[in-house]
Structures are given as structure tokens and as C-alpha cells.
Symmetry: C2
């Protein structure tokens, strides 16, 4: 059951929506216009969630955070201690921030809420962590956990999820935000009879059934451990090239790795080059990271051979444009050595076109100095 | 382009949502809490749209209508004439009412608005008519046309559409409903650069691309004419069995045909019997039609042979349980003759299991008297 992935015995609401819709649903079911919420300025998706809250007339107080560090429990604890009158109705936290590759300590946040005896609801965005990282909706005391279909669940986009707690359900009874499509009450009522109040996205639900079976077969801890190993491999590999992963020393996501390009490289141009010449599609930097950061996704139906091949192609591409600090001669990869250790299961690095430094196509970037800006 | 299907040169917004979501989007982008809207009590989906409006604090005035008749332009004209001060901000009409199989005269409604000089926006639910019936967003002066992926577009559910007019777009600038996911402005802004403000449901968008190509190949008028022929065949066939189609003499939808079961039959039981024994899945009656009506869908990727086979199976099933008035002997179909004329392309009726009256399986209904209630 999908609720097993959230580690909850409570109902899980499924929407025909993107994850952004599920983030909106968490707010409009639990809060009223004018309510105060605490949020962290921890990345693009944290900011977007705050923006959604603002659109619904919620007042957002930023409890701290910056994009190069994980959310700090101390920041939340300080904000909660200042709120003796309990004006704060909810805390919004992104578990795995897809724009930075950093993670928030949800269990620690719950402890801070409990230690200060603060009744605020805990709303968690687990869109890019569900299934890839340890996540415990019930035992961590999350009140709403939002997720979507296209990350750890390995499906096309189009399903949004709200896992809810008894407290959140109770809050929805008095929440004053107008709502219809997102209303938990009508969905829970229809679900009891095996129906939905609107036409369900059946092709994605059929896929979800298969995703749940696949994860159960590998076991949820097994899937999470595989993602941890893929993330570790990626970070070590990129650091081994002499590049900086975003947030050194911070807790990282199992789902993606964000890294800085050296000064003078435009991430959008590098992204296009890597796509067109090496056939790999990375994530570009978002928001304040635009132009400077690239992101490697390593989640879902992913194994070491596939990831190794992508990293080898990435290494070759970066070497070709002279973006690797240890690559003495632009256009070759020999100075940096093979990008990753060849594993018994993996393709040999020399099998990757261009990985041996041979230019199969003329570089659209010309000499390294030309694209610096 | 998908806008060609709506017959509009204006932008068409695409949501990751069900059609219900698109119906909500039409309201929250154009109206403000407390606004008065006119609606018709013309079927289940008309009522649901009014319910959504009520959830958002809109005041709904019912201009008339009942489920056995199409929306009457005279009812609207009378309501508009009474509203000299133009309190009514929008008129909500369902073009093809999926619960009744009847259609509303959208062009006539536009004329009534123009003749009375009433500035109300015209919001139209074309969920089950887009692609199957003549529909002209621009020339009929619709301000918002809502649609979804799983009807005439032949796709799984999961895409909602809002075709909009310049007037609707202008109204959205001052509309006071809180909104974020449904907000046209952020979607139009992102679309201009080829993006979406949230993760788009790419598998369905790929399917949509193919749907648009398929319809263009057959031509939109050709697709509409095919649906008109399928609908005509269905109504004539069912009437030929001695059953009553909902709304005799009223304008019917090209997409589905709703018909009454004879007194004493429970539509839910008949539905289950037809599914289990004949492998056909009809629509059950909704709302006030529950238990008394069945609905035959004949839309999308549908041709005469397929429809003929389904009608033959339906005839056999109804005959087997004694639900055909002209079927003198329960359990046989011979009294009523073959359910539809065999066409050169179609399967012969005798190829349908049970169509010759032979009971392949014991009827779960027993003698006709037993299931009457």
C-alpha cells in the first residue's frame, strides 16, 4: 500500500495534480486566511511553498536558513520560544530540497516542537525524498507529508499526495480556506466506498500499483540504502574531479547532487552542451543558483551501472570544455583519470563516446576562454 | 494545436488535473467571493459545478432547468432581463451533460447575452463535447471553456483545460478569489518561455500531441460527423428495442446516450450483470438518475463495428434478464430481432456470446420477477 511508503497507518490522499498542487492542498486544508506560518529560506522549493502560502493570505515568518546550509533545528527552536502565545499555526519544511541537494532534520524539528510544547502543525515536503530516504510520517509526527509521482515512485508526473495525521484531519474541520478540489473531506468520503469525487488518473494509479510492488519487492529499507549508495558515489566522484558539491559538511539528499561549476562557466550553456553532445540531461540551477549550479539526479529506477555511465559522460563533457580544475589540457580527460571506477557490472569508461578525450564532434564552446563570462 | 480543437486563437491553459479541477479553475480565475452566478439545474455535472462555486463563496442563482430537458435559452433570457443592474457576473452552462446525454444551445445562450446587452461572462463545460460535437469557443463568444483529456481527446484522465477569452483574461486581473495552482497568470507567463510553473504531466502531454495529430488527420468536422453518426445509431437502436432514451425530442449529445430501464430493474445490478457476463462497462445513472438510468458512451477512438458489438452485447444482456419490452420470452432475444443491423465491417450478431439466446452461464438474476423491486 502507498501508505507503507510514508510509514503511516493514516489515510493518504491522492490528487490528480503535480507536487505543487499537493503543497497547496496541505495549506488550504489546515489553515485559515491570516494564519501565521514558519518557513525556512532553504531553497527554491521552500520559497515556492511560502509563495503559495502568501497567495492564500497566510503570513509567512522566515525562521532562517540559506541555500548553502541545511535547515537548522536551533533556528526553529528559537522562533518557537519567541512565539509564547502560539500565533504560529504551522511549520513548513522541505525534507529533500531539490534545488540544493540538502536535507532538513525532520525528526529534530519534531523534537523542537515537542520540547517547546508548541502546537503548530508540522507540514513536510517529501516530494524528492519519499522512497529514497528514510522518512517516518507517523513516528516523526508529521501532520501533512506532501509527495508526488515522478521522483522515488518512478512514475510520470501527475499524482500528488497528502499523508495526513489525526491532528491535521481535525484542523481541516475548522480551517477557513475556501477549497473544493483539494478538500480532504470529500475525497476521504468517496475513498471509503472505493471511489474518487473526480475522475481519477487511472493510468498513473495503475503505475502506482506497480511502483508499490517494486519497492516492496526490494524492500523500502533496501531502496533507501541503494539511493544512499548512489548519492555517496556521486558526491565522491564529483569531488574527486576537484569540483565543489553544494553544502560541504551538510546533510545531503539521497536523490540528487548539486555542484558548482567553476567561475566563468554558464550552467545553462554547459547543460545544453551536455545534452546535445553527450545525451545526458542534468538539472539546471534554479532561482539564486541559476547559471552556477548543475544537478545530477540519481533516484528512482536507477542503478550503479546507469549512474556510472552518466557520470562518465558528464566527466568527459566537463573535461572537453575545460571545466575540470585538474584537467590540465582542455579537450582531454586524461589528467583527471577515468571519471569513476569501473565496476564489475558497469560499462568500461572507454566505451563512453568522448570519454577517451577524442573529440567526436567539434566542441560548440571553442577554446575554454571564449565561453567564460 | 490543441487550441484548434476549441476553435480559438486565444491561449489554452493546461493543468495537471481532472476536469473538475478545470471547472474550479474557471471560477477562481474570473470571480470574487460574493459574486452572483447563473446556473442551470440540468444534470449531475451542472449541479457539481454549482457546488464548487458555493465552496468558493459565490452565490448561485438557478435559472431553471431539469434533468430531462435541455437548457432553455428562454430561461436564461428571462433571468438576464430581470437582472437590470447586472449583478450576475457569470453564466455557467454544461454543453454536453454527461449524466443525461442532453446538450445546451451555447450559441443561443450567447445570443441571449448579446440581445440583453448583459456583460456576464459565459463559462462553458465542454468536457464531454470537445472534439465530438461542433464547438466554437471564439465565434460563440465563450469566455472560459473547460475540458479534460479522457473524453474526445482519447487519453487517460489527468489533463484539465481552460480555453479563455480576452474578456476572461481581463477579468482575471481583478478577480478576488485566492489562487495559486489554478492561476492563469503564472501559467501563461511560464508558457511564453516554453515552460510550466509546476512539473507538467509529460506522459499525457505526449499523448495529447498524438491526439491532436489523429484528429487533424481525420479532420475535426470528420470526427464530429463520426460521433453524430455513432450517437444516432445508438439512439435508434435503443429506441428500436422499445426502451426510452432520456429526453425524447430534446437535443442529444454525440458522446453518450442515457436510457431508462423499465420499472422494477435496478441499474446498479444490471450494470454489474452486463459487466460480468457480457464484458461491457456502461455508465450508471448519477445523482437523481441513480438506479434508473444506464449510459452508453460512444466517443473517442470508436467506430461502428466496435459500437455495434457493444450494443449487441447490451441487447443480449437486457433480453436475458427480461428488460426489453418487446422480448416476449425472457432469456431469448429472438422476439426483438437482432439488436442492430449487421454492417459489412461489423461482427455478425451471432458471434456475440449469448446473442443467440443461448445461456452460456446461469443468469445471476434468475427469473425476471425476482430482481424486480
Amino acid at each position: 500500500m502507498v501508505s507503507d511508503l510514508f510509514r503511516t497507518t493514516q489515510p493518504v490522499i491522492i490528487y490528480p495534480s503535480s507536487g505543487t498542487g499537493a503543497a497547496e492542498a496541505a495549506l488550504v486544508n489546515t489553515l485559515s486566511p491570516g494564519d501565521l506560518v514558519l518557513a525556512f529560506n532553504s531553497g527554491f522549493f521552500a520559497e515556492r511553498w511560502s509563495d503559495i502560502a502568501t497567495h492564500y493570505g497566510l503570513r509567512v515568518r522566515v525562521a532562517g536558513g540559506d541555500w548553502e546550509h541545511a535547515v537548522r533545528v536551533e533556528d526553529l527552536a528559537a522562533a518557537l520560544r519567541q512565539d509564547r502565545s502560539h500565533h504560529v499555526k504551522a511549520v513548513l519544511v522541505v525534507h529533500s530540497e531539490t534545488s540544493t541537494g540538502l536535507t532538513a532534520p525532520i525528526a529534530g524539528i519534531r523534537e523542537a516542537l515537542d520540547e517547546t510544547g508548541h502546537p503548530a502543525l508540522l507540514l513536510v515536503d517529501a516530494i524528492s525524498s519519499l522512497g529514497t530516504m528514510i522518512y517516518e510520517h507517523d513516528s516523526w509526527g508529521a501532520d501533512v507529508t506532501i509527495a508526488s509521482s515522478q521522483k522515488g515512485l518512478m512514475l510520470p508526473p501527475g499524482l500528488g499526495f497528502n499523508a495526513i495525521s489525526a491532528r491535521a484531519l481535525a484542523a481541516s474541520g475548522s480551517a477557513g480556506q475556501p477549497r473544493s478540489y483539494w478538500a480532504w473531506s470529500s475525497i476521504l468520503e468517496a475513498n471509503r466506498d472505493g471511489f474518487y469525487p473526480h475522475t481519477p488518473p487511472i493510468s498513473l494509479l495503475a503505475g502506482l500499483h506497480e511502483s508499490v510492488l517494486m519497492i516492496a519487492e526490494e524492500t523500502l529499507p533496501g531502496v533507501q540504502a541503494r539511493h544512499a549508495a548512489l548519492a555517496d558515489l556521486t558526491r565522491k566522484t564529483i569531488r574527486g574531479w576537484g569540483l565543489d558539491v553544494v553544502g560541504p559538511g551538510e546533510p545531503h539528499s539521497n536523490s540528487l547532487t548539486a555542484f558548482w561549476l567553476p567561475p566563468g562557466f554558464d550552467a545553462a550553456e554547459v547543460h545544453m552542451f551536455l545534452t546535445e553532445r553527450y545525451g545526458i540531461s542534468l538539472g539546471k540551477g534554479l532561482g539564486q543558483f541559476a547559471g552556477r549550479v548543475l544537478r545530477v539526479g540519481h533516484l528512482g529506477n536507477m542503478d550503479i551501472p546507469t549512474l556510472t555511465a552518466a557520470l562518465a559522460a558528464l566527466h568527459s563533457g566537463l573535461a572537453e570544455i575545460g571545466a575540470l580544475p585538474t584537467s590540465a589540457t582542455p579537450g582531454t580527460t586524461t589528467a583527471a583519470g577515468p571519471p569513476v571506477s569501473a565496476t564489475p557490472d558497469g560499462p568500461s569508461v572507454s566505451a563512453i563516446p568522448g570519454a577517451d578525450g577524442s573529440a567526436l564532434l567539434p566542441s560548440p564552446f571553442g577554446a575554454p576562454g571564449e565561453q567564460a563570462r
